[in-house]
Amino acid sequence: MARTILRVILVFVSLTVAGYGQSMNDPYSLNLVSTELNANSGGRRIVRSWAQKRLVLLGDGVSVALLKLLDDSDLKNPEKVRDLLPIIRDAFSRPESIAIEADRKPRVTLFLLNYIRQNISDSEAQSEVQKTMDFIGKGP
């Protein structure tokens, strides 16, 4: 049920993004977020300026990309979850830089993180998810 609601939100947000005239080449920044997942895989954390300066534009849009890139099993995998949390934090690290006004509110992201927290068994990963929720919850 929650997964279905996520997909409905995803469609809504997709329509919203299209309405803002984002590049149709990669309107969801899938290339950027995909390479970030690869760069951060296996617990490696590498910060690259050319990716950071784009991530800070995404805000809530980062979770739309993550939902398009990852499947349900990924969202229940503690290692994958640890890989994606820094990407979410980066996307909300400079709220004033987020390109689309609607993406400054982390509605999709909080829904996604809440879904992950409820469906992951690893308590350490749950704690990391909660910290990320607390971090982005302090935004505007």
């Binding site: 590049s23 080449n25 990669d26 290339n31 950027l32 995909s34 390479t35 970030e36 690869n38 760069a39 490696r44 954390r45 590498i46 910060v47 690259r48 300026s49 050319w50 990716a51 950071q52 300066k53 784009r54 400079r94 004033e96 830089s97």
Partner: protein
Amino acid sequence: MEPQEEILNEVINGTPIGNPEPTWVDIWNANYPGSTQFTNAGGQFLDAPFGACTLTPFVDTFTQPISMLMNGTNYTVRTNSWTLTSTAAGHGSVTNGSDVTQSK
């Protein structure tokens, strides 16, 4: 003129991670000091911020074509083949293989 870039064929520690920006995007970073959307009267601009860091030694390579967007057309002016390396905390080097090299 509006400087744009692509970020292609990035490889970290020998593992390809993809093309972070396979189509032209602005180099400009709105909230970074010195960064501007357009070149100055002399055609110069600052590509900033620029760098990479992590907690362990690494080698990161990628290709960065740079173009100028004018009247809707991108004119490629150069292509950098970047290599960023670090062998220990506080030490690293960056080079484009030709006219840019910096180390600490």
